[in-house]
Amino acid sequence: MAFSEGNLADHLGGLSYSEEQIELMDVATSFCRDKSPIDKVRKLIADERGYDPAVWQEIVDLGWLGIAVPEAQGGVGLSMAEVAPIAEQMGRRLLATPFATCTIAAQALLAAGDEAQCGEWLPRIVAGEVATLALTEPHGDWNLDHVEATAKASGDGYVLSGTKQFVTYAKDAALVIASVTVEGAVRLVLIERSAIPDGALRREIIIDETKRSYELTLDGITVPASALLDAGRSGTALGQIELASALLQAAEMCGGTQSAIDYTIEYLKTRKQFGKLIGEYQALKHPITNAYVGYEKARSHMLSAAHNFGQQGVGEIAVRMAKASADKAYSFAADRAVQFHGGFGFTHDCDAGLYRRSAIWHASQYGDAAWHRAKLADLLF
């Protein structure tokens, strides 16, 4: 018996792709492979900045920061659908840069910024200045509406207070977009790096050693009134930030899943025990096949999320399915990657650990599989 192939498509969206998407996918595939070999990834783990400024500049020169930014603001004028395949290849090669956070920051500006704010910052982001987001707080809630940081009117501007966590690449950022409440309502506010004292940033020790993240103490930082994003659109903007982030994460996670599987397969094809390649044993062969099946399902969801992104209703369902599915696939593949490398898998030298830690990191930001399934339950039933 088979289920009806088409009967869910109306509810959940289908699949297609654009020529631009495929071109970017092809370029990103070779770029990320060439620029981010695994020994370089490991070398950058020990580097304070955590990424290679020369590679960052190449990414800027390729125009990737402006893909989903309108041409009027210096961008390419495509959409998040075309960003996803790049993120996928970055995840595949563990190429860590502020690419994702800059892309999301630009989307936040587009969602709730006025003409002056967009006009000021979007061209700068496209040109490679780092912008990041400060949304989460010590309470650890994934719900982005749960904001305890505040902005209080003071003279011509606002004085901020509270603590933000997981502000990625904050140290290099020219702009931090933070969520605060103003008189009880959640607002987004632009904080220029120059307004942030060095002591307000603490580098966090995070599970994914390839990335950089900071805690930001807002207490005492002041911003002008013009730094607040539109009151009416801040709520929608948070929703869009969540979905755009989840999409890019799903893409990165798919890439990482692919590598975790490929890396493990190589080992199963070369390591011998009891006189046989261990890949001959079904106890290893079948679970890695299950991981591969999970990966392909997650990738289909991710490509559908990219294609349907921004579509009312269907887009949100597709994105949440993509993140939930990517989390499940990446966690399983990376977990088995550690196990199937045996004693070596337990060492810091084994790349399986990089993928396992990356999967945990992604699950911890913007919701894990269970969180997105709970959201889906409300959307579907």
Binding site: M1, L15, L277, G279, E280, L303, S325, A374, L376, A377
Partner: protein, 404 residues
């Protein structure tokens, strides 16, 4: 092949097909119809399904893209795809002669001789000649390459000795695609296998019905005792059997397009499961208020959607660059396992009524979900078990070494 049709031609054809299926798709016949071609239990079911397939064929909506000289419609394959889509839309009974039109037919069209095409194709399409498949043996199920049924050449005939099992429609079929051993001398077990298009009505061939897990009948064990068939039944040459059988399994596993059209398995309506859950209660509240049940249901919806998307993606070259065959080869595994788990889950919704079975007046949907679950094993076992499917994916897609 016929030339590519225009959108207008296809639209006109679709309108005709739509009108025909709306008018002719049978209503409830008053007795239970099989969900798949594998559980045709009664004469009543068999005759009803034969008549329906013949009617669809005569209307031109089956084999529409096969050549006219063999009994087909001679149209471009796009027309048949539309006919099949419309057939599905009206959710009529299955096409009965699955092994014929879905497996043996495409095989004969691919590699058969002119005589074979003339002799077999039309009878498959109009359901006059029912086909069955003789691959598995009692001692050789998953290890198909070790098949032992002997075929010994004797003049213009082969003499068959041995047994085949799990033969759907074996008691009603006129022909069998048969994998038999013509030699034990080859370099390996595969080299001695040969492929026959064998008659089923010959002295020395007997069948015995096997009752299934569901309580239904539908497949048999076949016994061959000094059965003689014409040497012309050999397909290709002696020793080609394994290659031809593998080609056939590609049709069965859905890795190749189904050229004749139609469907052989009744579709499970995923939204029907949601409906069932909505109607079910737990502790005086709707079942879907329970976050655990809801979460599992979401997981299934994601799985169903993933397979739906996989099926779209597998035809999109740029989106399957790294492992082009992966999605096609995992389809059977992923789909059949998902259906097994989903139908099992659906029984749990029913509370105490999960204890009823088919034909009890109080059974939910006349036991449809129980029957679907028990039947789901036919797909996770038949056509290569899920475990064999994992080996195939591991070896052919991921490049892992053979060896058990």
């Amino acid at each position: 092949m016929a030339s590519r049709p225009t959108a207008a031609e296809l639209a006109e054809y679709e309108a005709q097909a739509d009108a025909w299926f709306r008018e002719n798709t049978p209503k409830d016949p008053g007795f239970m119809l099989p969900l798949t071609f594998m559980e045709v239990s009664t004469d009543q079911q068999f005759e009803f399904l034969c008549a329906w397939q013949r009617k669809v064929y005569e209307a031109g909506y089956l084999g529409a893209s096969w050549p006219v000289e063999y009994g087909g419609g001679g149209l471009h394959p796009d027309f048949q795809r539309i006919a099949t889509k419309v057939m599905k839309k009206y959710d009529g009974p299955i096409m009965l002669n699955a092994i014929g039109i879905g497996w043996a037919g495409p095989l004969i069209m691919d590699i058969g001789s002119e005589e074979e095409k003339k002799k077999y194709i039309k009878g498959m399409l109009n359901a006059e000649d029912i086909w069955c498949q003789g691959f598995s043996e009692p001692e050789n199920g998953s290890d198909l390459g070790n098949a032992q049924l002997k075929a010994v050449r004797d003049g213009d005939e082969y003499v068959l000795n041995g047994s085949k099992i799990w033969t759907s429609l074996g008691d009603r079929a006129k022909y069998m695609i048969l994998l038999a051993r013509t030699s034990n001398d080859g370099p390996n077990k595969y080299a001695g296998l040969s492929f026959f298009l064998s008659p089923m009505h010959a002295p020395g061939i007997e069948t015995r019905r096997i009752k299934k897990l569901t309580g239904e009948y539908g497949f048999v064990q076949c016994f061959f005792t000094d059965a003689r068939i014409s040497a012309e039944c050999l397909m290709g040459n002696e020793g080609d059997g394994w290659q031809i059988a593998m080609k056939t399994l590609e049709y069965e596993r859905g890795a190749k397009v189904n050229l004749a059209g139609g469907y052989f398995l009744k579709e499970l309506d995923a939204m029907g499961v949601v409906e069932l859950a909505r109607q079910s209660q737990r502790g005086g509240k709707p079942l879907l208020d329970d976050p655990v049940m809801k979460d599992r249901m979401v997981d299934f919806m994601m799985d169903i959607q993933a397979l739906n998307l996989n099926n779209q993606r597998r035809r999109m070259g740029p989106l399957v660059q790294d492992r082009p065959m992966g999605l096609a080869l995992m389809n059977k595994l992923a789909r059949t396992e998902m259906i097994r788990e989903l139908t099992e889950f659906s029984i749990g919704f029913q509370g105490t009524r999960g204890g009823y079975y088919v034909d009890d007046p109080c059974a939910v949907d006349n036991g449809y979900w129980h029957r679907s679950y028990l039947n789901s094993f036919s797909a996770t076992i038949g056509g290569g078990t899920s475990e064999i499917q994992r080996n195939i994916i591991a070896e052919h897609v991921l490049g892992l070494p053979k060896g058990r």
